[in-house]
Each structure stands twice: as structure tokens, then as C-alpha cells.
């Protein structure tokens, strides 16, 4: 797979170290790896071909800098081209430059997440922009789809258009716009039924809805797990309704999300938002530079840092950092760290964000562990909870009889207690190495620098 493109490149380019510029043959070798990697990441074939051509054009003939290896340099070019083709750096906001009520049309295939995204979008406009939002479901196809949007509206605390059974989507759209004008809404989100790109009747219908409401934004909602078909979907919807923006959903899954690149390339429309979970507030801005790393398997460090910043108690973290720097890290700190990790969510999703951690994830998968068991964390917290303050500060004093007491107190076994102590010891070691490496070393080598060769997973 694509996990360490950098690693593969290193091999391809090793023999190149002494030469001056990247030549055609070397680049071709490396690009074969890139091609496979992109295809494995579900980037559509025609888009891959264009992508490879761009990278080739830029890489051939380029001087190899002294400070980096040729492999790293190509990785950088690949990454740069990827970011560019995903839309450049920074997020593109939803366009709201129009007289109210501003219609926003949501389109996409069945099950891509249109209705959930509509609810999330409404909450976002209402909360962050203080807009008055009306939600209207035009989905008369799927059973209870209109009810679903009504319930989501309730969760988001925004009104939804009353359901009148028997109305056609076009009638509902007209009624939504009328209601919005009469009751002075700022934004109307029109959620349509899922439809296949080859279903002519339904595509005509959505075209009519678009003509009747003249939406400022027509957002195509796409599942991040989508494969090669992304091209067909993007093209069909773009031709029928003129897509102005894309929402990638289920980006909290472990798909590489190559569909993002395909979508952007085919429609030319920016990816504006990403769905990051089932909760109604789990909608985030799309940052091309982060998703590039994900598609390339290079980790999403910024995303990790942001997630950490959101969930981790700042004061607590600073206290911890000070202690680490001094090399005074005790079990109490370990316990508070466990708590913080728990708050951040699944461990493997965190690991997935780290550069160089692809191998680690693969190892976990190979061991049949697709996720690290969260209950382990809880158990460890319980063990530490059963220790006295003195034991936590000076774990060295914990011998057989104390271990037995702690195990009984926490409902675990002495082995569990031993394992925790061993892990704590490993961690203290890691802290010391981290201090030695310094921030620069960490950035360069990633997490791998910290991991001893064959550390057993708990």
C-alpha cells in the first residue's frame, strides 16, 4: 500500500544521490509508485494520469538540493501538486453573497450523507453566523426521509418546512422559498433525494428544481469512501446542475479519500466542507494541505494538533510538558494523560494522523487489531486510581504486596499492574529520548524515531 511513499522513494532514488538533476528515467520509476499509490487511495484513473503528468513535468530536470535526498524532493513535488490540485492552501467558505433568502441545494447519490450534512450545515450557519436557517426536504423517494430532516432540524434547533404529504419535490421547493420570503429567513437549505447519475428522470427533476430556485450554492455531497465511480458522479451532476462546491462526508473513516482529488479535478469546484462524524456538529472546513497528506499516506499533523488542542486541557498539558522537560514524570501525570487520550477518541484514528505511523497501523492490522482496545485505558486508569498518592509519585516503592493490594482494589490482576508499570517505565524512557531529539528531530523522523524496534502492543 501507500503507507510510506517516502520510504519507497528513498529506495528508488538512493542511487541518484551523487548526480545533479532528476532525470526522466528516475522520475518515471518513482512515478510508477505514485500511480499505484494514488489508485490504491481511490483516485480515479484519468485523474491519476493527469496528476502524474503534472508531477513529471515539474520534477524532470529539477536540481537536487544538497540538503534533501532526491526522494524527499520528489515527495515534496508530489505533495505540492496534490495540494494545488485539491485547491491550494486554506479553506473555501460557503458562498453567502446573495440577497436573502439564500437557497442552497444539496445533491448527491443515495446514502452519501446529504440529509445529515444538511442538518450539520444548518447548525453551522445558525450558530457561527447567527443566521436564520430553514431546512426543507425534497426527498419524496426514500421512506421517512423528510421526517429524518425534521428530526435533525430539531437537534440543530432550527425550523424545518412542515411536511405536506403528496407534494412533488418542485412544489416543496417553491413552498420553501415562499415560506422563507414571508418569514424572512436568511438561508434555505434544500435537501434533495439521492439519485444515480444515470437516472435521467431524477436528474431532470433536480435540474428543474435548480432552475426554479436559482441556488447560490449547489453542493455535491460525496462519500469519502467512493471509488473510481467518483468521476462519473462528478461529471453527471456537474453537467446537470452545475456544482459550485463539494462536501466530502465520512472523512472520520479510514478511507484515503482519493475521491476528493477526482471530484475537484472533474468539477473544478472547490471542496468546501468535510463531515467528520455522526454528531450534528461534526462538520469542518476542508483544508487541501491536510487531505493531501492523507491521500499520500503522510499523516495529518495539523489535524492532529488541532484535535488535540480542542480536547486537551491546556493548563493540564502545560503542566505535563514542564514536568516532562524536567524529566519528572510520575504515574499521576500518566493517569491524567490517559484521561486526555480518552477524550481525543479512538487511538488508531490518532495514530493514523501521525506521520510515519503507517507502518505501526499496518502492524496493528496484521496482529488482527484494527483498533487499540480503549478498555485497556480505562483499566489502567483504575489501577492508578487504586494507588496511594505516594505510590503514584514514587512508583519504585511498589513491590509484591502493594501490587496485590492495587490489583484487588482495581479489580485487575497483578500481571495487569506489572504491565502498567512496565509501560510507564517505557514511557519515561520515551520522554527522555524525546527531550534528547528535540523538536526538530521529531519533525524530521516522525513518531518512528520514538518507537523502539519491537515494542509489544498492549
Amino acid at each position: 500500500m501507500f503507507e510510506n511513499l517516502s520510504g519507497k522513494f528513498a529506495g528508488v532514488f538512493d542511487r541518484l544521490r551523487s548526480r545533479g538533476a532528476l532525470n526522466e528515467d528516475d522520475v518515471t520509476d518513482a512515478l510508477r509508485e505514485v500511480r499505484l499509490a494514488l489508485l490504491d487511495a481511490d483516485v480515479a484513473l484519468p485523474v491519476v494520469k493527469d496528476f502524474i503528468a503534472s508531477v513529471r513535468a515539474r520534477a524532470v530536470g529539477q536540481e537536487v538540493l544538497d540538503s534533501v535526498s532526491p526522494g524527499q524532493q520528489v515527495v515534496k513535488i508530489v505533495n505540492d501538486v496534490m495540494i494545488e490540485q485539491l485547491g491550494g492552501a486554506g479553506a473555501v467558505p460557503v458562498n453567502l453573497n446573495a440577497p436573502s433568502p439564500i437557497p442552497i441545494l444539496m445533491v448527491g447519490l443515495q446514502g452519501s450523507g446529504k440529509t445529515t450534512t444538511s442538518g450539520k450545515l444548518a447548525l453551522r450557519f445558525a450558530q457561527r453566523l447567527r443566521k436564520k436557517v430553514l431546512l426543507a426536504s425534497l426527498d419524496t423517494q426514500r421512506p421517512a426521509a423528510q421526517l429524518q430532516l425534521a428530526q435533525l432540524a430539531e437537534q440543530a434547533g432550527v425550523p424545518s418546512l412542515p411536511i405536506i404529504p403528496g407534494q412533488t419535490p418542485l412544489e416543496i421547493a417553491a413552498r420553501a422559498m415562499d415560506t422563507a420570503r414571508r418569514e424572512v429567513f436568511d438561508i434555505v437549505i434544500l435537501d434533495t433525494a439521492g439519485r444515480l447519475s444515470i437516472d435521467q428522470a431524477l436528474m431532470d427533476e433536480v435540474r428543474e428544481i435548480r432552475a426554479a430556485t436559482d441556488p447560490v450554492e449547489t453542493l455535491l455531497v460525496v462519500d469519502a469512501m467512493t471509488g473510481q465511480d467518483a468521476v462519473n458522479t462528478a461529471r453527471a451532476f456537474n453537467e446537470a446542475v452545475g456544482v459550485t462546491g463539494i462536501v466530502m462526508t465520512r472523512m472520520d473513516g479510514d478511507a484515503r479519500g482519493g475521491a476528493a482529488l477526482s471530484m475537484r479535478a472533474i468539477t473544478g469546484a472547490p471542496i468546501k466542507l468535510v463531515g467528520m462524524g455522526e454528531k450534528i456538529d461534526a462538520l469542518e472546513e476542508f483544508h487541501p494541505e491536510r487531505v493531501a497528506g492523507r491521500i499520500l499516506g503522510m499523516g495529518d499533523v495539523v489535524g492532529l494538533v488541532e484535535k488535540a488542542a480542542e480536547t486537551i486541557d491546556q493548563e493540564e498539558a502545560e503542566k505535563l510538558a514542564r514536568k516532562m522537560a524536567k524529566g519528572r514524570f510520575d504515574l499521576e501525570d500518566y493517569a491524567s494523560q490517559l484521561k486526555q487520550i480518552n477524550k481525543m477518541g479512538s487511538l488508531s484514528s490518532i495514530i493514523g494522523m501521525l506521520p510515519g505511523a503507517g507502518k505501526l497501523q499496518a502492524q496493528l492490522a496484521a496482529a488482527g487489531k484494527t483498533d487499540i482496545d480503549q478498555t485497556v485505558l480505562k483499566r489502567q486508569a483504575a489501577i492508578i486510581g487504586s494507588m496511594t498518592v505516594k505510590e503514584r509519585r514514587t512508583p519504585d516503592i511498589i513491590k509484591a504486596s502493594r501490587k496485590k493490594r492495587i490489583a484487588t482494589g482495581s479489580g485487575t490482576s497483578v500481571q495487569d499492574v506489572n504491565r502498567l508499570l512496565k509501560q510507564f517505565e517505557d514511557m519515561s524512557h520515551m520522554m527522555k529520548r524525546m527531550n534528547k531529539l528535540g523538536q526538530k528531530g521529531l519533525m524530521r523522523q516522525g513518531l518512528a524515531a520514538l518507537l523502539p524496534g519491537n515494542r509489544r502492543q498492549f
Binding site: L36, L39, D40, A41, D42, A44, L45, P46, V47, K49, D50, L109, Q110, G111, G113, T116, G119, Q141, R142, P143, A144, A145, L147, Q148, A150, Q151, Q155, L196, S197, I198, D223, M225, T226, G227, Q228, D229, V231, N232, T233, R235, A236, R250, D252, G253, D254, A255, R256, G258, A259, A265, E278, S346, S348, S349, G368, T370, D371, I372, D373, Q374
Partner: protein, 306 residues
């Protein structure tokens, strides 16, 4: 799948990569099956979501038997279809309800938006037509209006729906439904579950709990665990199947939304990797649109053979 795969592909790619289309066009006329032609065919397979590994393997098999021969468009299509159908043949196994179980318990799982509830509706319809007493369990207590969606299907098919309030414990619900189905000597118990991404360990654990709790009544249940897969899914489907199989012992697949453009090739990759039975495919939104999986039909559709 009236429109052939090659012509669909040709349409699809015409704008962005003229060169590729041309080269595939040239594969279609009579010519020697050389390296270039094979590479074009491999691309065509990759573009149908078969994945790079499987595409390479199929082309390798092709190379060993037919390299350098003069072939026509139809030869290639037929031969490719046969190659693919051969991979799929062993997994085309229908789901047979064991009427002696009373009830045959079927747990339906999958990631969000693949069509679990719709599939249950279609299955319920088919069982109703066979005269089987079916009970549905609205186990998706998380998503808004999921219960109501299943209730609509219950009404359409005449199957009673066991449901709880929003946020109800789906394991408890399944347990109660199982006792009811046993008491009524129902033939089938179809248990819907909330969609969940396979990388969310907490949600996956919840799914194991549903099984664990039902097994307190009968250690043999669920008799079938169906993973519903969206045919538009790319390579991530492999990971999905892997994790769900690990966590809840998936016994078979249902592939939905196989009614669109060139796609569903991931089924071939899944067959090769896991060999799990493909019980049925969904080809539309109507109740009758759940069909038995026919490998040759599917393979021919994929490559556009007549």
C-alpha cells in the same frame, strides 16, 4: 447494465484523457494482444474499481494464455468476463432461510448509508412473498427517523416491526424481539443496526454486544450476519469487510446500488481476498430490486460483453 462497460468507460474518459480512450478504442478493433493492449486492459479494470492487485492478476492470467494472438473486441470481452466470472463463481451463494430454526436470525450490519434498511425492506418483501412469517427489528436507534423508515417497510410488507424509543439500547431491543419471535414461532427475524464506520471501536464493540446479548437466549444466533456494501465504494471496502468480519463474524455480503455507471468491481477484489458469499445485489429502489448474484451476468456487464 445495457450499456457496455467499454463504451461507458469511453464516454466517461473522453474529455479528460483523450489518449487513453483512443488506445482502448484500438483494443476494440482486431489487433495483436501486445504489451500495450494488455496495459490498456489493465487500466480499464482498475477504472472499474477492481483494484491494482486484482487487475494485475487477471491481466497476468490473460497474458499467459493469449499473449501475441490476434483477437477481436468480442474475444477480449468474452475472455475477460470468463476470467472474472471464474473468480466470482464460488461466492455466488444465495441466502437460504432455514425454516426449522424458527426464527432464522439475520443481523444486518454495515457502514453508514450503504442501504441496510432498504435491503431489509426488500428482504422482508421477498420473504413475505414466500409466505414466511417475518419480524423486523428497528435496531438503528441512533439515526434520525431510521425507525420510521423501517416502519414504512413493515407496513408495505406486512411484517411487524419491533422498535424502541430514540436512543434505546439496540441490544436490549434485539433480545426482546428474539423472545417474541421465538414465542410466535416466526420464520425470520431481521435485525437492523445503526450504520457505523468500521474504525470506530466503540461502535463496533456495541455491535458485538448486540450479538452477545442475543446469545444469552440462544447461543446459535445470529444464524446469518449480512454486511451491506455500497457498490460505489472503492478500495476501502476491503478494510470494511476485514474489520466487520473480525468483529461480528460476517457470513455473507449484500452489494447495493449496482444499478449505476461502471462500478462494483470491488466485488471481484473482495471475492479474491475473503471469499465471503455474495448473497444478493441491489439494483434499484423498488422492493423487487434485490436479486440473486449472477457472476456471469455481472462479469459480462462489467466488461460490456454481449
Amino acid at each position: 447494465m445495457a450499456l457496455g462497460f467499454f463504451s461507458r468507460l469511453k464516454d466517461g474518459l473522453s474529455r479528460s484523457t483523450q489518449k487513453l480512450t483512443e488506445s482502448i478504442g484500438s483494443v476494440l478493433t482486431k489487433r495483436t494482444l501486445d504489451e500495450e493492449a494488455l496495459a490498456d486492459l489493465e487500466d480499464a479494470l482498475v477504472a472499474a474499481d477492481l483494484g491494482t492487485d486484482v487487475a494485475t492478476r487477471i491481466i497476468e492470467a490473460f497474458r499467459s494464455t493469449r499473449f501475441g494472438t490476434e483477437v477481436t473486441d468480442e474475444d477480449i470481452r468474452t475472455a475477460l468476463a470468463e476470467e472474472i466470472a471464474a473468480i466470482l463463481q464460488p461466492v455466488a451463494v444465495p441466502l437460504v432461510i432455514d425454516r426449522s430454526l424458527k426464527p432464522h436470525v439475520i443481523l444486518v450490519v454495515g457502514v453508514n448509508g450503504t442501504g441496510k434498511t432498504t435491503t431489509i425492506g426488500k428482504l422482508a418483501q421477498s420473504y413475505a412473498e414466500q409466505g414466511l412469517h417475518t419480524i423486523l427489528v428497528a435496531g438503528d436507534t441512533f439515526r434520525a427517523a431510521a425507525v420510521e423508515q423501517l416502519q414504512v417497510w413493515g407496513k408495505r410488507t406486512g411484517a411487524p416491526v419491533v422498535s424502541g424509543g430514540p436512543g434505546a439500547d439496540s441490544a436490549g431491543l434485539a433480545f426482546d424481539a428474539l423472545s417474541r419471535a421465538r414465542a410466535e414461532r416466526a420464520d425470520v427475524l431481521l435485525v437492523d443496526t445503526a450504520g457505523r464506520l468500521h474504525n470506530k471501536s466503540v461502535l463496533m464493540e456495541e455491535l458485538s454486544k448486540v450479538i452477545r446479548v442475543m446469545r444469552k437466549q440462544d447461543p446459535a444466533v445470529p444464524h446469518s450476519v449480512l454486511l451491506v456494501l455500497d457498490a460505489t465504494t472503492g478500495q476501502n471496502a476491503l478494510q470494511q469487510v476485514n474489520v466487520f468480519k473480525e468483529m461480528v463474524d460476517v457470513t455473507g455480503l449484500v452489494v447495493t446500488k449496482l444499478d449505476g455507471s461502471a462500478r462494483g468491481g470491488i466485488v471481484v477484489a473482495l471475492a479474491q481476498e475473503f471469499g465471503l458469499p455474495v448473497h444478493a445485489v441491489g439494483v434499484g429502489e423498488q422492493a423487487s430490486d434485490l436479486r440473486a448474484f449472477d457472476p456471469m451476468d455481472y462479469a459480462r456487464g462489467l466488461v460490456g460483453a454481449a
